[in-house]
Amino acid sequence: MTPWLLQDFDVGDISCQIIEFSVQGYQYVMIFNRTDASRSEELIAKQAEELGVEYRENSYEVKFDLRENFESDTFFTPPPAHINAASMKELGRIIKELLDFHYRNSNAEAYYCVAETMKLKRFYDRLANLYAQELYFTVNSNLGEEGLGYEITTPSYKS
């Protein structure tokens, strides 16, 4: 497996880790942005309300995209060619590994993500079924107005 490139930075209200990885010739970035990074409580509350959750203190919004999209500002544009089932499976496994890696290094209480399409929602639902138990995470799905949001709580979640 090729090494991951982790980049860490803090600027203004963004406190972020970006991890680059590749699957079957495609380069991806997975982005962890701390939810409370110097943002106003009002803004945090608004975003949490949109998702239908209560943001935890040490929690992160998670996104992933093709690196090319991130570099060219064409965010979330689908890949030019169909990604086969084996590649999707590998992509899912690496996303699980990255969440596990990030959790072990941050002790995050929770992660939040939103699927931008129904196709991705099915993919995320499948990953939740496959891996949540293995990681001791709890996944709350169908959140927010469109039902596309997820809250992933970890063993460090404080009630």
Partner: protein
């Protein structure tokens, strides 16, 4: 005619968030404030 995937509010919000992250990343990069590490997957 082939139907287009539905553009969701969620997607619009994610794109806005990504724009902010990208702008912050570009600024951090230009100021030499991005720390980089190689990680070997387990």
């Amino acid at each position: 005619m082939k139907s287009q995937p539905q553009a969701t509010k969620a997607k619009a919000a994610k794109i806005e968030a990504m724009k902010k992250i990208k702008a912050a990343y570009s600024q951090a990069k230009s100021e030499g404030r991005v720390k980089s590490y190689q990680v070997s997957p387990a």
